[in-house]
C-alpha cells in the first residue's frame, strides 16, 4: 500500500514516527502550517517555523525515504492576535518556494471579523500565486463554520476544484459534496473521524474528490491512521485499486495542481543511487563509518 498523507504535522513527531510511516508505506506527505500548542507572539516566530517547513523538516523526512511538502498560511486562531497579523506581508515570499503546494491551513476557528479578513486575504493570495487552498473547518460550531467557509470560497473566485475543505464528518460532508471542493477527513482519535466511520462515508459518497489524512500533530494522534483506514477499506470489500485512489492518487491529483509536487524516490531508498547528503545537508541519520 502506497500512502500519501495529505495532512500531517511532522514538526511535532519523532523519528520513530517517520520510521513507522515509511514501513507502513507512506512515501509522501503534506505538512500544513498551523498553530503550535504554545501561542506565537511575533512574526519572527512564524518565519522560523516556515523556514523549518521548507528546509529542516523536508530534510528530516528525506532521511526516512519520505517526500515532504508543505502549505503556508497564517492559521485562523492566530489571525486573531494583532501581534501576528503582519505575517500576511511575508507570505508571498514563502508561497513562491519549492515544495509549497497550497495556501493553508486557512479558515475559521471562532468566526471573528479578524478571521474573515485573514481567510479572504489568503484565498486571494492563493489565486494570485496560482496555488490550491487548504481550508480547516472549526472544532466548535462546525456546520456553521463549514457553510461560511464555502460562502467565502465562492465569493473569492477560486476554482472549487482547487480547494480542500478539511476535518469533515458525517454532518458536513454533503455541504462540501455539492460545492465542487475536495473533501478531506482527519482520522484522529476521539475528536474527529475513525476508520470504520470513514469507510461508511466512502461507501455512501464514493471515492471522487475524497482525501483521508491522519492530521497527526502534538496532540494524542496516530500517523498510521491512514494505513488503518486503507486496511478497513479492504476488509469492507474495497479493492486495492480503490485504496490506492484514496490514499495516493487523489492527494497527488489535488496537490499536483500546484505544479510543485516531487515524488521521485529518494537517495538511499531505491529511487536513485545512494548519496551522502540530501540537498547538500551533511547532518545524516545515525552513526557514520
Amino acid at each position: 500500500m502506497r500512502i500519501f498523507d495529505p495532512h500531517i504535522h511532522m514538526t511535532s513527531r519523532t523519528t520513530d514516527d517517520y520510521e513507522r510511516m515509511h514501513a507502513a508505506g507512506v512515501r509522501a506527505l503534506v505538512e500544513p502550517a498551523f498553530w503550535l500548542g504554545q501561542p506565537r507572539t511575533n512574526v519572527g516566530s512564524f518565519t522560523d517555523y516556515f523556514d523549518g517547513l521548507i528546509g529542516w523538516e523536508r530534510f528530516r523526512a528525506a532521511q526516512f525515504g519520505i517526500r515532504h511538502h508543505c502549505t503556508i498560511a497564517l492559521n485562523p486562531k492566530e489571525a486573531n492576535d494583532s501581534r501576528c497579523a503582519e505575517v500576511l506581508d511575508v507570505l508571498p515570499r514563502y508561497l513562491a518556494k519549492d515544495g509549497v503546494v497550497a495556501v493553508g491551513e486557512i479558515g475559521y476557528d471562532s468566526m471573528t471579523p479578524a478571521e474573515d479578513d485573514a481567510f479572504a486575504a489568503q484565498l486571494a493570495l492563493a489565486v494570485e500565486h496560482e496555488l490550491p487552498a487548504l481550508v480547516h473547518t472549526p472544532h466548535r460550531d462546525k456546520i456553521t463554520g463549514t457553510r461560511r467557509s464555502l460562502d467565502l470560497v465562492r465569493s473569492s473566485g477560486i476554482d472549487p476544484g482547487r480547494v480542500i475543505i478539511d476535518h469533515l464528518n458525517e454532518v458536513t460532508v454533503e455541504l462540501v459534496l455539492e460545492s465542487g471542493c475536495w473533501m478531506a477527513f482527519s482520522i484522529y482519535p476521539d475528536t474527529k473521524m475513525d476508520p470504520d466511520r470513514m469507510v461508511k462515508i466512502l461507501q455512501r459518497y464514493g471515492l471522487d474528490r475524497m482525501l483521508v489524512n491522519s492530521a497527526a500533530d502534538w496532540g494524542r494522534s496516530d500517523p498510521l491512521r491512514t494505513l488503518r483506514t486503507g486496511e478497513t477499506m479492504l476488509a469492507a470489500g474495497f479493492t486495492a485499486d480503490d485504496v490506492d485512489a484514496v490514499l495516493w492518487r487523489n492527494p497527488v491529483a489535488f496537490y499536483g495542481q500546484s505544479g510543485r509536487l516531487v515524488l521521485d524516490g529518494l537517495p538511499g531508498f531505491g529511487g536513485s543511487s545512494a548519496a551522502d547528503t540530501f540537498a547538500g545537508n551533511s547532518v545524516l541519520r545515525g552513526a557514520r563509518v
Binding site: T47, I54, R93, A96, K97, A279, G280, S282, V283, R288
Partner: protein, 498 residues
C-alpha cells in the same frame, strides 16, 4: 512569456526523411523549421519538385510550423567540393545565383519568412575588391528575384568566409544602397567564435536588420556548433537581447553535425531554450520591477532546472554550482542594475533571510555580482551565516571569490578546515593558493594528526592541501605526520545533530 518563436534546423535531421523530421520537431514544441534545401530534403533540382513542394507545404500547415529557407547544403552543386561554387568563386558563380533564385521561388511557394545565404570563401589570389564586386553582382541578381516574390533575404556572416562578421554584412548592404529586402541572418554561436562583442551585443547591433536567427553554442575562435551549455554563449542574455530589439522572426537551433542523435539533441535544446527564455523574461521583469525578484528568485529551480552546471567533473555542483545557481546570479545582476545600493542591500539580505537552501546558495554565488552595490559588511554577514551551517553546498558557495576577496583570514581558514571536515572539495575554495598561510598549514596538519590518532582516514583533499602547503610553508608544523594509512575516497565527518 517573451514572444520568441523557436525553430530547429532540418540540417540537424539529415538522417531523417523531411516529413519525419518535421513531425519530431513539431512534437517537441518548436514553432518552426529552418529548412536547408538539400539532395534529400526538398531538392531544388528534383524533377518532381512541385509535388514535393505540395507535400511539404501540407505537412508544415498540418503541424503549424513556420519556415525559413536555408541554402548552406554542402554538396548540392558540386559532389566533390564542399559548398562550391559560391557567390565569390572564380568560376561557377552563376550556378550559385541560380540556386539562390530557386530558393527564393521555393520560399515564396512555401510561404517562408526569408531565404538565408552566405557569401562563400574568397579563393586564394582574389583580392577584397574582387570579392566585393562578385558578391554585389550575385546578390543583386538574387535580390531581383526576391523583389519579384516579396521574399526577404538574410545574409549570414560565416566564420572563414568573405562575409565573416556583422560589419562585413553591413558593408555589403552599404555597397548595394541598403536594399530593403537584404537583411541579416545571425548565428549567435558565430558571434562567440569570431565577433569582437557578445552575441547579445551583436543582436543589438543588427537590430531591425535581423530577418533570421540561428541558435547554437560555440567557443571563442572555434567554428564548431555545440549544444547549449557546452560553449561560452550566454543564452539567456542573447534571448533577452532578441526580445529587447523586438525580433519577431524565427530563432532556429543550428546543429548540423548532430544528426546522428537528432531527436535527443533537439529535445535537450528545447529544454535549454525554455529555461533560458524563462530566465530572460525574469531578468527583464526584475529590471523594470525589481520587487518581482521576490517571487522569481525562489522559482528558478522549477523553471531552469537544478542539475550541476558541469556534471562531468563536478557531479554535485559544489565547485561550479548548479543551473539554478547560475540563474539566480543573473537575477542578482539584474537587480543590481535596476536598484540603488540601499535597495540592493535590503533585498539581498531578505532574499537570503527568507531563502531556502537553494536560494541562499544562489545569493552566496551572486555576491560578486552585487559587490560594490552591497556593502562588504552585509555580504560577509551572509558568508559567515553560511559557514555556520551544515549544508555542504552552502559552505562551498560561501567560499567562492567573494570570500577570497573579503573574508578575514581567521574566518577564511576555518572555512577551509570546515570544507575538509564536511567533505567539500577544496577546488570549491577560491584563492586557495593565494590565501593559504602557515597557520592554515598548522590547522590542517593538526586535523590530519587527530584523525590518524583516532585510527581514521584523512580526506585525500586534506593530504593534497598539506603537500601543497608543505612546499610553501616547510617547517611551519613541527609535528611529522605518519601519512601512511591508505585513504579511501568519500569519507567525511558530520557536524553532529544537535
Amino acid at each position: 512569456m517573451t514572444g520568441l518563436r523557436f525553430g530547429y534546423g532540418s540540417n540537424g535531421f539529415a538522417n531523417h526523411r523531411l516529413g519525419d523530421a518535421l513531425a519530431v520537431i513539431a512534437d517537441l514544441g518548436y514553432s518552426g523549421v529552418a529548412l536547408t534545401l538539400d539532395h534529400a530534403h526538398l531538392d531544388p533540382f528534383a524533377d518532381d519538385l512541385p509535388r514535393q513542394l505540395d507535400a511539404v507545404r501540407t505537412e508544415l500547415a498540418a503541424r503549424n510550423l513556420a519556415v525559413v529557407v536555408e541554402t548552406g547544403a554542402r554538396y548540392l552543386l558540386d559532389p566533390r567540393r564542399k559548398h562550391h561554387p559560391t557567390l565569390v568563386s572564380d568560376d561557377g558563380r552563376d550556378r550559385r545565383v541560380d540556386l539562390l533564385r530557386r530558393a527564393v521561388r521555393i520560399a515564396a511557394e512555401l510561404g517562408a519568412e526569408c531565404v538565408s545565404f552566405w557569401s562563400g570563401i574568397l579563393p586564394p589570389g582574389a583580392d577584397a575588391d574582387t570579392g566585393w564586386r562578385r558578391l554585389a553582382q550575385g546578390v543583386g541578381e538574387v535580390l531581383d528575384e526576391a523583389q519579384r516574390h516579396g521574399v526577404p533575404l538574410g545574409l549570414e556572416p560565416e566564420p572563414g568566409m568573405f562575409v565573416e562578421r556583422l560589419d562585413d554584412a553591413f558593408e555589403l548592404r552599404k555597397r548595394l544602397g541598403d536594399p530593403e529586402l537584404l537583411g541579416i541572418t545571425l548565428d549567435v554561436g558565430h558571434c562567440v567564435a569570431v565577433e569582437p562583442s557578445s552575441a547579445a551585443e551583436c543582436v543589438r547591433l543588427a537590430g531591425e536588420l535581423l530577418v533570421n536567427v540561428q541558435l547554437d553554442d560555440m567557443r571563442p575562435n572555434v567554428h564548431e556548433h555545440l549544444e547549449f551549455g557546452e560553449g561560452n554563449l550566454d543564452l539567456p542574455a542573447t534571448l533577452g537581447a532578441l526580445v529587447e530589439v523586438g525580433y519577431r522572426g524565427l530563432a532556429a537551433v543550428e546543429l548540423p553535425r548532430h544528426s546522428h542523435a537528432a531527436p535527443e539533441v533537439a529535445a535537450r535544446a528545447a529544454t535549454a531554450l525554455r529555461a533560458a527564455e524563462w530566465l530572460a523574461g525574469a531578468t527583464r521583469r526584475i529590471r523594470t520591477t525589481p520587487d518581482a525578484v521576490r517571487t522569481l528568485f525562489p522559482a528558478a529551480g522549477r523553471h531552469c532546472g537544478r542539475g550541476p552546471l558541469h556534471p562531468a567533473g563536478d557531479p554535485n555542483g559544489l565547485v561550479h554550482g548548479t543551473v539554478d545557481d547560475a540563474a539566480r546570479v543573473a537575477m542578482l545582476a539584474a537587480l543590481r542594475d535596476a536598484s540603488t545600493s540601499p535597495e540592493v542591500t535590503a533585498e539581498v539580505g531578505d532574499l537570503y533571510r527568507y531563502g531556502d537552501d537553494a536560494e541562499k546558495r544562489g545569493v552566496l554565488r551572486g555576491l560578486p555580482a552585487v559587490d560594490g552595490a552591497l556593502p562588504v559588511d552585509a555580504g560577509l554577514e551572509l558568508v559567515r551565516d553560511a559557514l555556520r551551517s551544515n549544508d555542504t553546498r552552502l559552505v562551498a558557495a560561501a567560499l567562492g571569490p567573494y570570500a577570497a576577496a573579503h573574508l578575514d583570514q581567521h574566518g577564511w581558514r576555518h572555512g577551509v578546515l570546515k570544507c575538509l571536515f564536511v567533505g567539500v572539495p577544496l577546488a570549491a575554495v577560491a584563492g586557495l593558493d593565494r590565501r593559504a598561510d602557515a597557520e592554515l598549514h598548522r590547522m590542517v596538519a593538526d586535523f590530519a594528526a587527530e584523525r590518524l590518532a583516532a585510527g581514521r582516514v584523512v580526506p585525500p583533499d586534506g593530504l593534497a592541501l598539506l603537500a601543497l602547503l608543505a612546499r610553501e610553508w616547510q617547517g611551519a608544523s613541527e609535528r611529522p605526520l605518519p601519512l601512511t594509512t591508505p585513504v579511501p575516497a568519500g569519507h567525511h565527518d558530520t557536524e553532529g545533530t544537535s
